[in-house]
C-alpha cells in the first residue's frame, strides 16, 4: 500500500495509535468520574505552557508539561476543599489559561509564536524523538494504571467508598491528574489542544453505550480510538484532508453508528 511507503506516515500511525491508547485509557476514568471537562481544561492550560515556552525560549513541550502539571495539582487541591463545583473550577482555569496564553503570546512578540501549530497539532510531522518520548511515557503510565486499576476504578465508582476502604484517594487523584496532564502536554504537538479532548471523550462515550463491563468498555473505547486514528489518517492520506480533524470526525461518525446501533437495532 502506498500509504506505508512513507516513513512519515508510519511515524504518524505509530504516534497516533499510542496517543489513542493513552487518550482512551485516561478518558474512561475521566468520563466515569464526570470529569470530562478536565481534558479540555488541561489542553488549554498546555497552550499557556506552550506560549510561556515561546516567551522564555525553552522547549515548548517541556513548558507545556510543567504548566499543565502545576495547574492540575492546583485544580486537584482546590477541588479537595469542595467549596466550588468541579466544573466551575475547570471553567475558570480553561478560560483563564487561554486568556493568559494570548497575553503571553503578544508579549513574546515573536513570529515563532504560532499557537496554531498546537491547536491542531501536526500528526504527519512527528519526529523520531517525539515518538520515543511518548512511547516511554505510555509504557510507564499504562503500567501505573494497571498497577492501580482496581483502586482507580473504586475511586471513580464512589470516592467515599474508596476512602473508607483504606485507599489513599488523595494520592491517587493527584497521580491520575498528573498523568493526564503529562499525556495532554505530550499529545498537543501531535493531535492538537482542541482535538485531544475529543479523542479522550468521544470513543469512551461510544463504548459506554454498549453497557458492558468496565474492562470491556475500555477495550471497546480503545478499539474505537485506535481505529479512528488509522481510518482518519488513511482518509486524510488519500483525499488530502487535515489529519487531526479527520481523525476526530471519524470518532464522531463511529459514535453516531454506536448510538444508532444501540437505539434502533
Amino acid at each position: 500500500m502506498e500509504i506505508f511507503e512513507y516513513a512519515f506516515m508510519i511515524n504518524a500511525m505509530i504516534a497516533g495509535v499510542i496517543v489513542a491508547i493513552l487518550a482512551s485509557t485516561f478518558g474512561i476514568f475521566v468520563v466515569v468520574k464526570r470529569y470530562a471537562m478536565l481534558s479540555d481544561t488541561l489542553a488549554h492550560v498546555s497552550l499557556l505552557g506552550v506560549a510561556i515556552g515561546f516567551l522564555l525560549h525553552i522547549s515548548t513541550i517541556f513548558s507545556a508539561i510543567v504548566v499543565a502539571l502545576g495547574v492540575s495539582l492546583i485544580i486537584e487541591y482546590i477541588r479537595n476543599y469542595k467549596e466550588l463545583y468541579s466544573d466551575s473550577i475547570l471553567s475558570i482555569f480553561l478560560s483563564g489559561s487561554l486568556a493568559m496564553a494570548i497575553i503571553v503570546v503578544s508579549l513574546s512578540n515573536s513570529f515563532n509564536s504560532s499557537l496554531f501549530d498546537y491547536l491542531f497539532g501536526s500528526i504527519v510531522a512527528v519526529s523520531d524523538e517525539d515518538i520515543l518520548t511518548i512511547l516511554v511515557f505510555a509504557f510507564v503510565s499504562l503500567l501505573l494504571v494497571w498497577h492501580y486499576y482496581q483502586k482507580l476504578l473504586l475511586i471513580s465508582f464512589d470516592e467515599e467508598l474508596a476512602y473508607t476502604s483504606g485507599i489513599n484517594v488523595k494520592f491517587l487523584n493527584l497521580l491520575f491528574v498528573s498523568l493526564v496532564a503529562i499525556m495532554i502536554g505530550l499529545s498537543i504537538k501531535i493531535i492538537g489542544a482542541l482535538l485531544i479532548g475529543a479523542l479522550m471523550i468521544i470513543p469512551v462515550s461510544s463504548a459506554i453505550l454498549f453497557k458492558k463491563s468496565f474492562f470491556t468498555t475500555w477495550i471497546i473505547a480503545l478499539s474505537i480510538a485506535v481505529c479512528s486514528v488509522i481510518i482518519g489518517l488513511t482518509i486524510s492520506f488519500y483525499i488530502s484532508l487535515p489529519s487531526g480533524a479527520t481523525i476526530v470526525l471519524v470518532t464522531l461518525i463511529l459514535f453516531c453508528f454506536s448510538y444508532i446501533y444501540k437505539k434502533f437495532i
Binding site: I3, Y6, A7, F8, M9, N11, A12, H57, I102, V105, S106, L107, N109, S110, F111, N112, S113, S114, L115, F116, D117, L119, F120, G121, S122, V124, A125, V126, S127, L233, S236, F237, S240, L241, P242, S243, G244
Partner: protein, 302 residues
C-alpha cells in the same frame, strides 16, 4: 497482452523522458518566481494553499508526500514558516532545504514602543527580522536571480531554457520597478497606515513612514490603547487611507477609518493569491501594480 507491453514500454519511455526537476516552495512569492523560471521543465508544488494565510499551517499527508519527492524545498524564513522545521526534521530532508532569507537583504522588525518591554538584541538573532522581504522589488529581483541560479545548478541540461525565462521575467519586474521609482519621487505625504507591518521593505526602499495596527503577526490583536493612538496618528499625520490586507479581518482597520473619517482600502503584501486569481493568471506583478496605484492615491503622488 500486446496492449500491456506497449503500455509498459511507454511507461518506461515516460519515466526516462521525465528528467523533470521537482520543486516545493512554501509561500506564493517563491512559487511565483519558480513558476516563471521553471516553466514546463519544473514540477512545482506550493505548500500554502491559495487563499490561505501563511502563519498557521498544518501539512496534510499529501503535502508530506509531495515534499518527500521534491528535489528542492525552497523556504522563505524561520519567521514566516515556524512550522517548517518539524516537517524537515520529520522527513529528514535537511539537505534539500534552500532558505531564501540567506540571500536577500533583510531588515529588522520594528519594535512597538507601546509594548514597553526590552528585547535584548542579538540574544536570539534572526528572530526579529521582518519576513516580508519580497515586498521590496529589489529583493524580488535578487530572489529571481538566486532561484534561476539554483535551478540551473540542479538541472544544467535545460540551462538555456531557464535563462531565457529569467530574462523575460526580469524585464517585466524591472519595468514595474521603474514605475515605482518614478512615482515615489512625486509624493506629497509619504506615510501609510497598514493593518500589519508587511510593507516595511517597501517603506525602506522609498523612505516611507509605515504605521501598523497589529504589529508583525496578523494573529496578535491590538489593544484598545493602541487603537486610540492609531486614530490620533491618522488625524495628526494627515493620512487619507487605512489599508488592510486580504485573508485577514479588516474590522480594526474599519474602526480606525471610521473614527478618523478616512477611506479604507486593501493593500496586499502578495503573500498569497486566491485560487481564482491563479486561474486568471493574476500574480505578483499584477498585485504590486495595483498596490502602486493605491499607494499613489494614499500618499498624494502623481
Amino acid at each position: 497482452m500486446l496492449k500491456k507491453i506497449v503500455a509498459s514500454a511507454l511507461l518506461v519511455c515516460g519515466v526516462s523522458a521525465v528528467a523533470e526537476l521537482k520543486v516545493t516552495t512554501t509561500i506564493y512569492p517563491l512559487y511565483s518566481i519558480v513558476k516563471e523560471i521553471g516553466g514546463k521543465k519544473v514540477e512545482l508544488n506550493n505548500l500554502i494553499p491559495f487563499g490561505v494565510e501563511a502563519h498557521g499551517f498544518d501539512p496534510t499527508p499529501n503535502d508530506m508526500v509531495k515534499l518527500s519527492k521534491s528535489d528542492i524545498f525552497i523556504v522563505s524564513s524561520d519567521a514566516m514558516e515556524p512550522w517548517k522545521d518539524k516537517i524537515i526534521h520529520s522527513l529528514k530532508i535537511e539537505d534539500k532545504v534552500f532558505d531564501m532569507s540567506k540571500y536577500v537583504k533583510l531588515r529588522e522588525a520594528e519594535e512597538e514602543e507601546t509594548h514597553g518591554h526590552e528585547h535584548s538584541k542579538g540574544d536570539h538573532k534572526g528572530e526579529n527580522i521582518d519576513p516580508h522581504y519580497w515586498v521590496s522589488l529589489n529583493n524580488y529581483i535578487i530572489m529571481t536571480n538566486t532561484i534561476s541560479k539554483l535551478i540551473i545548478e540542479k538541472d544544467p541540461q535545460n540551462k538555456e531554457y531557464y535563462e531565457k525565462n529569467r530574462e523575460n521575467f526580469l524585464e517585466k519586474v524591472n519595468s514595474l520597478k521603474l514605475k515605482y521609482d518614478i512615482s515615489m519621487q512625486t509624493c506629497a505625504n509619504k506615510k501609510i497606515l497598514v493593518n500589519h507591518d508587511a510593507f516595511g521593505y517597501f517603506a525602506d526602499d522609498y523612505s516611507v513612514k509605515q504605521y501598523s495596527i497589529s504589529g508583525m503577526t496578523p494573529e496578535s490583536k491590538p489593544s484598545a490603547k493602541q487603537i486610540a493612538e492609531l486614530i490620533k496618528i491618522a488625524k495628526k499625520e494627515g493620512i487619507n487611507t487605512v489599508f488592510f490586507e486580504e485573508f485577514a479581518s479588516p474590522k480594526v482597520a474599519q474602526t480606525i477609518a471610521q473614527e478618523a473619517h478616512v477611506k479604507i482600502d486593501s493593500l496586499r503584501p502578495a503573500e498569497n493569491i486566491s485560487a481564482q486569481e491563479n486561474e486568471q493568471g493574476i500574480g505578483y506583478l499584477h498585485i504590486m501594480e495595483e498596490n502602486l496605484n493605491k499607494l499613489k492615491f494614499a500618499m498624494g503622488c502623481k
